[in-house]
C-alpha cells in the first residue's frame, strides 16, 4: 500500500529531492571528475581521444575499487584501516601458490578470499575487542603481516604464467573487444555495496554506530559487532583486490598492495566521505578511485613529466577537500 500524503511526500519531486539528498557528495565528486577529465582533454586532445588511455586505467581501476569501497564502510563506522595492503598481498599469495601448485583456479580463488576474510576478522577482533586505536593497531598489524610474507618468501615473487591460458581466470580478467571485463565485476561489487550501505540493516547500523556509538548501544545495537563487520568486509575486498591484481599482472609480488595504501585513502576522502564517521558515500569513493587513477595516468599523458604526478595528486586532494566543504555539513 502506498499512501499519498497531503504534502505530496511520495510525489516524484520528492523522489528526486531524496536522490539528490542521498547522493550529494557523490554528485559533487562526479562533477569534479568531469571537470578534471575535460582539463586533461584540453591538455592533450590527441591522447585523450584515444581509447588506449582509458583502457590502461580501466584495466587496473577494479583493484582500487575493491579496496576503496570497503574502506568507505570502515571510515563511516568511525575507524580506519592501514593494514589492507598487507592483507591484499597475503590473500593473493595464497591464491598464487594455489595456481602454481596446479589446483583448479576456482579453489585457489576461494582460498584467497577465505584468507582475506580470516585476516579481516582477526584484525577487526583485535582492534575492536582490544579497544585499540585502529590507526595504530592496523599500522602495526599491517607491518606484521607484510613482514611475515617477506620472511616466508625471502622476498621472491611468483610468476603464475598459467593464468594467461586459464579460461576461468580469463573470465575475470581479459579484454574482449578492448574492454577489460574486470570492470564489470567491479561494477557488480559497487552495486551490491551500494545496496549494503544504503538499503541494508548492516549499512544502517554502520551509519548509526559511526554517528553516535553510545546511542546505538542504548538502542540495542552492539557497536563492536558492527565495527568488526566492517573489517571483515575490508578483508573480503582486499582478498578480491589481491586476486585480481595477480590475475591482471600474471605475477605475485611480496610487495603487492603497498602502492595502493595512500591512493586508496585519498580516494575515500576525495570521494566525499568525511573523516569523522556517520556519513559517507560508496559511489563517491568509487569515483574518487577513478579520479586518483586518472590523475596518475593523465598527468603523464598530458605531456608533463612523471615527477608532476604527486604534485597534482596533492592538488586534487586539496581542491576536493575545499569542494566537499559545502557538501559536508557536520551536525552535532
Amino acid at each position: 500500500m502506498n499512501k499519498r500524503t497531503p504534502d505530496g511526500f511520495n510525489a516524484n519531486h520528492g523522489l528526486i529531492r531524496r536522490f539528490i539528498q542521498l547522493n550529494r557528495a557523490a554528485i559533487g565528486t562526479f562533477g569534479f571528475f568531469i571537470v578534471m577529465m575535460l582539463l586533461f582533454f584540453c591538455g592533450n586532445p590527441h591522447v585523450f581521444s584515444d581509447w588506449r588511455i582509458y583502457y590502461s586505467v580501466l584495466t587496473v581501476l577494479p583493484v582500487a575499487i575493491f579496496l576503496v569501497v570497503p574502506l568507505v564502510f570502515i571510515v563511516t563506522v568511525g575507524e580506519i584501516d592501514l593494514s589492507f595492503p598487507s592483507v591484499m598481498a597475503f590473500a593473493a599469495w595464497i591464491f598464487a601458490l594455489g595456481v602454481q601448485a596446479g589446483y583448479p583456479p576456482a579453489a585457489a580463488i576461494l582460498a584467497g578470499v577465505a584468507v582475506g576474510l580470516a585476516l579481516g576478522s582477526a584484525i577487526g577482533l583485535i582492534v575492536v575487542y582490544g579497544e585499540f586505536s585502529s590507526l595504530v593497531a592496523t599500522l602495526g598489524l599491517g607491518f606484521l603481516i607484510r613482514g611475515a610474507i617477506m620472511i616466508a618468501t625471502g622476498g621472491r615473487s611468483i610468476a603464475a604464467t598459467g593464468i594467461a591460458k586459464d579460461p576461468t581466470l580469463r573470465l575475470l580478467s581479459s579484454s574482449p573487444g578492448g574492454f577489460p571485463v574486470q570492470m564489470i565485476w567491479a561494477a557488480v561489487f559497487v552495486a551490491v555495496s551500494v545496496i549494503l550501505y544504503n538499503r541494508h540493516r548492516f549499512g544502517a547500523r554502520v551509519h548509526c554506530v559511526g554517528d553516535n556509538p553510545e546511542s546505538a548501544r542504548q538502542m540495542g545495537i552492539d557497536p563492536r559487532l558492527v565495527r568488526v563487520g566492517t573489517f571483515v568486509f575490508m578483508g573480503f575486498g582486499a582478498g578480491l583486490a589481491g586476486i585480481f591484481s595477480t590475475i591482471i599482472n600474471f605475477t605475485w609480488w611480496p610487495t603487492a598492495g603497498d602502492s595502493y595504501l595512500l591512493p586508496t585513502l585519498a580516494a575515500v576522502f576525495v570521494g566525499g566521505t568525511p573523516t569523522w564517521g556517520g556519513v559517507g558515500t560508496v559511489l563517491g569513493g568509487t569515483i574518487g578511485a577513478a579520479i586518483v587513477s586518472f590523475t596518475q595516468v593523465g598527468i603523464v599523458a598530458a605531456g608533463l613529466d612523471g615527477f608532476y604526478v604527486q604534485f597534482f595528486n596533492g592538488l586534487i586532494i586539496i581542491l576536493s577537500l575545499i569542494g566537499h566543504r559545502w557538501n559536508q555539513i557536520r551536525y552535532r
Binding site: 502506498n2 499512501k3 511526500f9 540493516r201 551509519h207 546505538a216 542504548q218 540495542g220 551536525y331
Partner: protein, 265 residues
C-alpha cells in the same frame, strides 16, 4: 494489589569507587504512572539505563511480570515491553528521522534488506501523531537540522511506536516550551488511559506531581522515600519532603522521614 510489571531487587551500579546506584528496590505496576525525583547526581539516569539494558548492573535482579530475567540487555528490555527516552535522547544526529526511529529495529523485507518505504510512512505517521505539523520536516530530514524540542519529539515518537507496556521518560520535558510540555503530558495521559505504565523523571516537581500518582525520592543512589499522591498531598509538601531527604543523614529510616513529613503543611 495489581500485578507488578517490572520489579528491581537490590539493584546496584558502581563506577570504580563511585556508587551511582546502591541497592534499589522498585516496582512498577500495570497502568500506573510513577514519578522518580531527586537531586542532580542522585542516580536516576543510571537506574533508567540499567532498566533499559544500556548498562549492566554491578549486582541485583530484574524481574518481568514476576519472573527474573537472566542476561539482561537492551534487546531483552525491549522484548519485555520497556521503551526508554534517555536523558541524552540517544539520537544519531547525522541520520534521518526515519533511521533514528528504527535504529536497532529496522523494518526489513528479506535478507536484512530495509523496507525504506514502510519505515518512511510509519515515521511520517508517528511524526504527525507527536505533533510535527510543518511540511518542511519529513522523515528524511536529518535530525541535526531539528530544534532541541523537535529532537526530543523524535525520541518520544520512537518510544511510543512499539506499544510498550512500560515507557520510561528521563526528563522528557526539559528544554520544551509550555505548549510542547503540555503536548507531552497529554500524551502521557493518553498512554495511561490505554493501560500503559510510565516511569517519569523530572526536576519540575509541580509537573511530576501533576502527572504521577506515586513518587519515589532518590538520594545518593538509593530510594530514600516512596509516597503516594494522597500521602504527599501537594507539590509543595513533596518539595519539602525532598529537602528533608537531602538534609537527613544517609541512613535515616523512612519511618522517621514520614514522621517529619507530618509537620509539613
Amino acid at each position: 494489589m495489581t500485578e507488578p510489571l517490572i520489579e528491581l531487587r537490590d539493584l546496584r551500579k558502581s563506577y570504580g569507587t563511585v556508587l551511582a546506584v546502591g541497592g534499589v528496590n522498585l516496582q512498577v505496576n500495570k497502568g500506573e504512572v510513577v514519578g522518580l525525583i531527586g537531586d542532580n547526581g542522585a542516580g536516576k539516569s543510571t537506574l533508567v539505563k540499567m532498566l533499559a539494558g544500556a548498562i549492566t548492573p554491578t549486582s541485583g535482579e530484574i524481574l518481568v511480570r514476576g519472573k527474573p530475567v537472566a542476561g539482561w540487555n537492551a534487546a531483552k528490555s525491549r522484548a519485555a515491553g520497556i521503551e526508554t527516552v534517555f536523558q541524552d535522547r540517544a539520537l544519531a544526529v547525522q541520520q534521518t528521522i526515519a533511521r533514528n526511529i528504527f535504529m536497532g529495529r529496522e523494518i526489513t523485507t528479506f535478507g536484512g534488506l530495509l523496507n525504506l518505504g514502510r519505515q518512511r510512512s510509519e515515521a511520517l505517521h508517528l511524526m504527525r501523531e507527536i505533533g510535527f505539523t510543518s511540511n518542511a520536516v519529513t522523515p528524511d530530514t536529518v535530525v541535526g537540522q531539528l530544534s532541541g524540542g523537535e529532537r526530543q519529539g523524535v525520541a518520544i515518537a520512537r518510544a511510543i511506536y512499539y506499544n510498550a507496556d512500560l515507557i520510561v521518560l528521563d526528563e522528557p520535558t526539559t528544554a520544551l516550551s509550555l505548549t510542547e510540555t503540555e503536548k507531552v503530558f497529554s500524551f502521557i495521559r493518553t498512554l495511561r488511559a490505554g493501560g500503559r505504565s510510565i516511569l517519569f523523571i523530572g526536576h519540575n516537581i509541580h509537573h511530576v506531581f501533576d502527572i504521577a500518582e506515586r513518587f519515589l525520592i532518590m538520594d545518593r543512589g538509593r530510594i530514600a522515600l516512596a509516597v503516594t499522591k494522597a500521602q504527599a498531598g501537594s507539590a509543595r509538601r513533596l518539595i519539602a519532603l525532598m529537602e528533608e531527604v537531602a538534609h537527613s543523614g544517609e541512613n535515616t529510616p523512612p519511618v522517621e522521614l514520614a514522621a517529619r513529613l507530618k509537620g509539613v503543611q
